[in-house]
């Protein structure tokens, strides 16, 4: 299985593997990173938000809706769920970050088990669209290796635009930076928190929707497939949403793709863990924390 001879084909395959895992890590992380970066809350139910996106896509699809429309359903379901969760639960924990993790974990257990009770142990899989591209002895899925990484990049660009170019984004950042002053300036900070959480949830839903046709069989424990990658990427990337997610996904997917390509997916995941543990020691506040430090030092020198 592991082709150790280097050729154009195997290098291409490695590149596709890289793109595949880059897209996966960015999409798995981005919803979590928004909520963590902007509000400091780690949403332990992130996997279940993604799962709601998956179910919200799969159910209409199996009922006969075309796939793109079904995907919209997944995003909407996760967003609505996010708004409800923020209003009823997360809201109470903005000054107790560790407790917010405990609470969202409780939520995660309830949601995944309820999905199991309501929809049974699995839904039929959705076949992956767009087919495969063949080259030499290899074959890669166009959807996973080209379409999804492209969407991932688009999402990051879109977020950058929203948070730097729109009034909403500037208000949201002001709320995060200094909630009291923001309130004094007439910003409805409660609404900003809700909206930010909704965007994070919606992105988790989008991830679920996009991966619904790439997961194989759809089971209620699928949420945890996204957890390891997203947590590791948030730890390695640090609190800055876009730069952090992008750089962490870039670095991690090099390790993940190389490990998976030569030794199998499981070694790829072990490598992620090792990189994350070493990163904890070397970059305690992630890559973006380090970049911030470096910038400040340079400014101090000037």
């Amino acid at each position: 299985m592991a082709p150790l001879t280097f050729s154009v084909y195997s290098l291409t395959a490695l590149l596709f593997q890289f793109l595949n895992s880059f897209g996966f890590i960015v999409l798995a992380t981005v919803g979590l990173a928004i909520i963590f970066g902007m509000m400091g809350v780690i949403n332990l139910a992130h996997g279940e938000f993604i799962l709601i996106g998956v179910y919200g896509t799969a159910l209409p699809y199996h009922a006969g809706a075309p796939l793109p429309l079904a995907m919209v359903g997944g995003v909407v379901a996760a967003t609505l769920f996010g708004v409800v969760v923020e209003r009823t639960i997360v809201r109470r924990f903005y000054d107790r970050l560790l407790d917010s993790m405990v609470a969202t974990w409780g939520l995660a257990l309830v949601v995944s088990q309820l999905l199991l009770i309501v929809f049974g142990s699995s839904l039929d899989s959705i076949s992956t669209p767009m087919g495969n591209v063949d080259y030499g002895p290899f074959s890669s899925s166009v959807y996973r290796s080209i379409f999804l990484p492209a969407v991932a990049l688009l999402v990051l660009v879109g977020l950058y635009a929203v948070f730097t170019r729109t009034e909403f984004g500037i208000k949201a950042r002001a709320t995060i930076e200094d909630p009291e002053t923001a309130r004094a300036m007439g910003i409805d900070t409660d609404r900003m928190y809700t909206s930010t959480f909704a965007i994070g949830s919606g992105l988790a839903g989008l991830t679920g929707a996009l991966y619904a046709p790439a997961l194989g069989s759809i089971t209620p424990n699928r949420g945890s497939t996204f957890l390891v990658e997203s947590f590791v990427a948030v730890v390695v990337g640090g609190p800055s949403v876009i730069v952090g997610t992008l750089s962490a996904a870039g670095i991690l997917s090099v390790f993940n793709a190389t490990g998976s390509f030569f030794f199998g997916t499981f070694i790829g995941q072990m490598l992620l863990l090792l990189v994350a543990i070493v990163a904890l020691r070397a970059l305690p506040d992630g890559i973006t924390g380090y970049v911030d430090d470096w910038r400040q030092r340079r400014r101090a020198e000037e």
Partner: protein, 375 residues
């Protein structure tokens, strides 16, 4: 009620009590110790009053209590929230199996017990070093510990093939490792194999000793330092304490406690599988400790016994509620407690009792003595 023992009592008891009591533990009155003795006696008498099957089930709850103590110790007293205590629990359980299966004699099992606890402890120390000496923020510690458990889950689940064996011991992948020896005391080929009631008493004794030992530790100067780190890390560092080192020691002790539980757990069922690293099992210690009260060792143990008993009950279904609802109830319990009772059951009750006592003394001072019943 008197807080001091009678003057005639030997001072040894007094000195022992002064070691066991302090501001960091709940339950510093004579009433508490009497109640505690009654509870221990009841647990000790339990096997005489019930059938062997129930004794075996109860042993499982006691083994899991170590896991609860481990999280309670690091989260409640040093503010280090770990979602991955099950990792050290599981590492010790697997290590016990691997060593025990390969050295199949009484001495071998003793070696396996010690080796497994060391393995669990060292893995906690190693992870703790990377986290605390890097100076990462609290939330990172919480998610990294969970990631470690989840990755171990993936790792152990794929060790199905015969190439995944350590000597005689097949790791067994998703199906788990069978033939883990029972806990044995003794040297040479044969010894006292602890099974059934014997195992129960060994567990009860170890748990009691661990609980009392932790109380002594928490009320010592190290315990005070732990609480200082929990309350204000920066200030503790300013006073000259090495905060990363304190946290590392705490985390390592926590790992050791979890490892002891893991050894008992693996020898309880003579079996261990990767689900101990899974996300559902990893949530349980958090549930027990949150419900019982993160600042109460006894609360954590009590909640473990109660919730696990409830889960056993639910596994056969209660009325219209089938076994599939167990996890919903456990998750909902966690959510409800953290929302409405964030300190957990025991500290809240303790606070209520204090309040009641204060109000009562107030009243007895303000009203005539005749109205009050003598105590």
């Amino acid at each position: 009620m008197t807080d001091r023992l009678d003057a005639g009592t030997v001072s040894v008891v007094g000195r022992l009590r002064s070691r066991l009591e302090g501001p960091n533990t709940i339950g510093n009155s004579t009433t508490f110790w009497v109640g505690f003795a009654v509870a221990v006696a009841a647990l000790a008498a339990y096997p005489l009053a019930t059938d062997p099957y129930t004794v075996i089930q109860s042993s499982r709850y006691l083994a899991l209590s170590f896991l609860a103590l481990s999280l309670c110790f690091i989260w409640g007293y040093a503010g280090v929230l770990s979602f991955g205590q099950v990792a050290f629990f599981g590492v010790a359980a697997y290590a016990f199996g691997v060593i025990g299966i390969n050295l199949s004699s009484a001495t071998g099992v003793v070696v396996a017990t010690v080796g497994a606890v060391i393995a669990g402890t060292l893995s906690a120390a190693l992870l703790g070093y990377f986290m605390f000496y890097g100076g990462v923020r609290d939330t990172y510690v919480t998610i990294m510990t969970l990631v470690v458990a989840l990755v171990l889950n993936t790792f152990m689940a794929q060790t199905a093939g015969s190439e995944w064996a350590v000597g005689e011991a097949q790791l067994g992948g998703f199906n788990g490792m069978t033939g883990v020896p029972s806990l044995t005391l003794g040297l040479g080929e044969s010894g006292l194999v602890l099974e059934g009631t014997g195992f129960y008493y060994a567990l009860l004794f170890t748990l009691l000793a661990t609980y009392l030992g932790l109380r002594v530790l928490l009320n010592s100067s190290f315990g005070m330092t732990m609480v200082a780190v929990r309350e204000d890390e920066a200030r503790t560092a300013t006073f000259g304490y090495n905060v990363p080192f304190v946290k590392l020691v705490v985390f390592t002790i926590g790992g050791a406690l979890a490892a002891v539980g893991g050894v008992f757990y693996a020898s309880w069922g003579n079996y261990i599988d990767p689900s101990v690293f899974g996300i559902a099992f990893a949530a349980l210690p958090v549930v027990w400790v949150s419900v019982g009260g993160r600042e109460s060792l006894l609360g954590a143990i009590g909640a473990t016994l109660a919730i696990e008993r409830m889960r056993t009950g639910l596994s056969s279904g209660i009325g219209p509620i089938g076994s599939e609802w167990a996890l919903v109830i456990v998750g909902g319990l966690l959510l409800g407690v953290i929302l409405y009772l964030p300190a957990g059951a025991v500290p809240t009750l303790d606070g209520l009792a204090d309040e009641l006592r204060a109000r009562r003394t107030e009243r007895s001072q303000s009203t005539t003595a005749a109205e009050e019943s003598p105590e």
